[in-house]
Symmetry: D3
Subunit: 248 residues, 6 copies
């Protein structure tokens, strides 16, 4: 069961409201790299977790934290929308700055939400829950989580560069930090399962006789005119330690 505290996990401030940055921030709320995604992904994984309860607990605890990230980002969007123009006057309509502000803003922040955050991305596209990846396989799900946090930290780092508002930079530096931790905690589960080599190939419970293993360890060059790109994947022991990589 969930509970709520009136205190935000991170206290947001915005020095100079910017409706266009409000739109950008929406990507961190309702984008595929955003907080709704991870909150719901960890929540559904937790509900489906069978086996050792510590993974279920860990998932639920971080799901809960991500809900708090949605919350303070919602405040950040609302603060950036303070002072956005809600009426239009004739001369303003000819002012390129006003036109540009409105052109760069999400029209639904003005028309639909009353200057508040929405569960949408930076193009106004609502988040859809097909992006909640929860397979019931622990290793597969940990990879999905590490991936989600990687994309989240890429996004937060880019948002950091797209604002010169000190308050926003502070908030984003907090999100960047938490993404650092979250990436590692999911990969740490894989370490506990024996490390990447031990869990590969995911799922490692598939019986060998269900696999045409003669096709399991070659890189396939499907190019007509490019040489095989040589690398760790073309020779040497496979990462799962079961064979040697080759090329076809």
């Amino acid at each position: 069961m969930f509970y709520h505290s009136g205190k935000l996990q991170y206290q947001v401030r915005v020095d100079r409201p910017d409706p266009q940055f409000a739109k950008y921030l929406q990507q961190a709320i309702g984008g595929v790299e955003g907080e709704i995604r991870v909150a719901m992904q960890y929540f559904f994984q937790a509900m489906g977790a069978r086996g050792d309860s510590k993974y279920r607990d860990m998932l639920m605890m971080t799901a809960t934290e991500e809900l708090s990230h949605i919350e303070f980002l919602g405040h950040a969007v609302a603060l950036n929308l303070e002072g956005a123009p809600l009426t239009v006057q004739e001369d303003a309509a000819r002012d390129p700055i006003v036109h540009a502000i409105m052109g760069g803003a999400d029209p639904r922040h003005i028309l639909s939400s009353g200057l508040s955050a929405m569960p949408v991305d930076s193009n106004g596209i609502p988040f859809d829950m097909s992006h909640v990846y929860a397979s019931g396989n622990l290793a597969a799900d940990m990879m999905a989580n590490a991936m989600a946090e990687g994309s989240g930290r890429v996004l937060a780092s880019r948002l950091y560069n797209m604002t010169d508002d000190a308050g926003m930079k502070d908030m984003l530096s907090f999100l960047i930090a938490r993404d650092t931790m979250h990436q590692q905690q999911w990969l740490a589960v894989i370490e506990e399962l024996g490390g990447m080599q031990a869990v590969l190939p995911i799922p490692n419970s598939t019986p060998t006789e269900h696999e045409a293993t003669e096709h399991s360890y070659y890189f396939l060059n499907t190019s007509l005119d490019e040489p095989t790109p040589e690398g760790r994947w073309t020779s040497g022991p496979s990462l799962d330690g079961r064979a040697e990589f080759t090329v076809r």
Copy 2:
């Protein structure tokens, strides 16, 4: 900020697992009448709430409760999927009962989720956040919330009839009860705002000079051959108390 307790708000039990009912229950999780919708709707309304903080608090408290509804429904789905067939044998494939069970189940419960709940409806369609209605107008949002709870209680009542599992019936009777309360609490806000007559027409802040009031109080019969359906809406004082209803 959010917190979590290991205790479910409602302790679920399933007497006889039923994969088809697991699929039906998905409507209460990821359908438009479901718990993700209300949890997120109240959450985003709370984040956007300006003015008297008691409405914001009320919204956030109930958003938090709805998250707990998702949680125990997720358990209910998983319990109903216990024992679903994960392998197929030749003779089973010719057994109409097995065929029927599988035909009536959501294939992704077996293929994608590892016998766990997903954020989808009873046809497997992922919830999309466009259904989170939050306009920033308090009366409009309270109507949206009462509507959501009405549709939720209709759904829970129908699900109650579609199972003969005592555990499931108990759980649904709890959900039905909470929907009873939630419907009323949002309508109670409208009472506090002066009652339905006072808030109509929503939004009641629109200046009269922005409205072509000569078109505001007639029912328009667009039928070529049906008489006007007479009722409270065709004569007598308008519900907002500003005029008389007429017909065109």
Copy 3:
């Protein structure tokens, strides 16, 4: 069966075309607050209406009117797109006004529709029919309709403020007026059903023994540190007249 007249329900004029306002108007056509939604919602409710035929007729008549709203809004969008630039010259590309106009316009109005309305919202997102709420329960559906008209009138009022074109303001004042009526006519059905108290809780046909009524009348404070927001929902008789509100 439907018929059409060549006369618009409202004769639109635009004094100064504005591609950006054309984009804004799309919200009133293909947004969740828009006319496609209500037209289709009332249409499907009408088709599903069993019982007293007057409600079916009323639904179909207003569905038909809403189709006419789509129609004149479509004209309004096309008129606002008159004169939008369809070719780009080098110097224009460096003109901030031109850049701003194009930045604020929906690119698909130029690329995809030939300067005409599309069934999309102000972010270009196509309307999807999951927003057609039609449960078969009359009271639930009337709430859904009143809600839709509330959000529609909020939108029209905001659009009114976002233009200084007299023609557009006139048209919006007509839409605001019809939304006033439509809100009330659906709520008037609830009055005919005995008033809000009589229809609560929706659906009022659920047998009491299907409800864990000990959970039906308390507001749940899920906050760890906020006091219960006191109001009409925390004490006094419940709105359905069956119990007293309490708090947990």
Copy 4:
């Protein structure tokens, strides 16, 4: 402006209700081959039609007819759902026939719509308006319309085969007939524009100097090992009469 008559365009009857066929019929309402699509496509094309008003009128008249097709199909769905089981008893749950009926039905017909049609396809997926094709180019739009009616008639013909209900077969034979006409009327517009050769390539207003015509008339064989499939497209005059087809 639209009007409605209480008389259906086609009077539906169902001899033996079948919830599974109700689900199949949904494809003809809310599928991409269905009636909502053509109704909305012709409607939006009509609103965008500039030039000779007869095409606009023709589009609007047929849009209006398609709305009537939605209407009687909606009745057909409701009639097929008469008698669908709304409660489950223990022994029934073990009856393969009951299981099969429920497995083959759309659960939302029972849970969400109150045994009525929904604007969804036969998998319960809501229609989305991105399928409304309206480019503003008359020839392109006529092709889109002929295509839509072709797919619609394919669907109606398949539905005809999937039922043995005489009432349903009658209704489908009516839809098949109207699709016959509609296909031809859009292609007849192309004849009026000078015939297929004259309108090709669509749009025929593109200046020749905007086209790298040396790439306009060869079929490109991108296969490594298959011979070029010889046909009308590999040699002889091009359909637009401007060049000879070749192969590369």
Copy 5:
């Protein structure tokens, strides 16, 4: 099986990068008129093609070509994004040109893709595969393909006008040319099947006794006040040669 060559089908160049035009070009990649659509449509039609293998081969060959169109358009988007601003300085934020550029760009090109193409349209909406039309009926599918190429050439022609970059105009003239061919090759299949008259009505395999032919050849005037728009569709032999057109 597919293979790839390192050589682009068309060698793209961009003389002056333009992030706003990058956004416009997305329509040609991930819009309903774009290359992903035709690539996947021909691919799935090819996989479903039964009967004469030459149509299957033709479909697969052109599907393969369309994949190459996606590829060079992807390069075009990336080249147009070269030099887009990835950081914001305070003074820049007040420069209307910078504001306009950013307002007119797709924010996800900066935030999500690292200045690369995405499988989305010009409003950032991801392509969804419901637009892959493949019915298994050859004539219906050829019409769908001709339609898709018609809308594609309309789009490419409009994009041509919306840029003054010589490199982009060259690339678009190539796409316009290939659309010219592709339109005709699908219509040429219909010629091989006996011509349009022979394939009508699609599907021409529907037995006559499945059709209420008394409804197959009249144009229905559903207008209350407009005269029937006279044309090729109101009198004279039907296009399928089976009857005379009339009007009701």
Copy 6:
């Protein structure tokens, strides 16, 4: 540029057609775990790849292979649909086996596709391209790819168990094998970049001063009553080697 060979990468055979398994297989084509997703993901990553060209080549080569996986899976679906009933007779309609087969099949395989594969998942939901993850950050994208292949192999392994058709088992064992390789090749790129420790946190180019590093290395226990789940993530050196894990 792409090319095609008439030879399938894997020669499919089906011993006993099964329309229900055809529906299950759709998950491997158009599901989020399926082949369209990886084909398009690697394709778009390749187009966006800057820097060392070997990664671009590798991505494009495997994208091309995945297209071939779509192709033979498409054949597998079509073969499983051979013999599906396309007409209904009265007595059959009462046969539970027939009912079950139809209940368990995708109705659109019969109504829409002509017994062919569609770009949809096992619930008939069209694939949408928002699942193409391509951030432009190499490490983030490699994680996304390893994740996709992990979920793909989980799916293929489950499908293997859900059929007793020897042909299908053979085909799935091939897919399982290729997923084994693909997982490892993307992780091998990370090894080349210095190993997981070196690339963490993703993106490792974010300047330290953009990160509130005091929040980067603690696991946050948000539970009110559960002890912190102890593990590799609660103490010891962080996986990126920069700090020690702690708990709050």
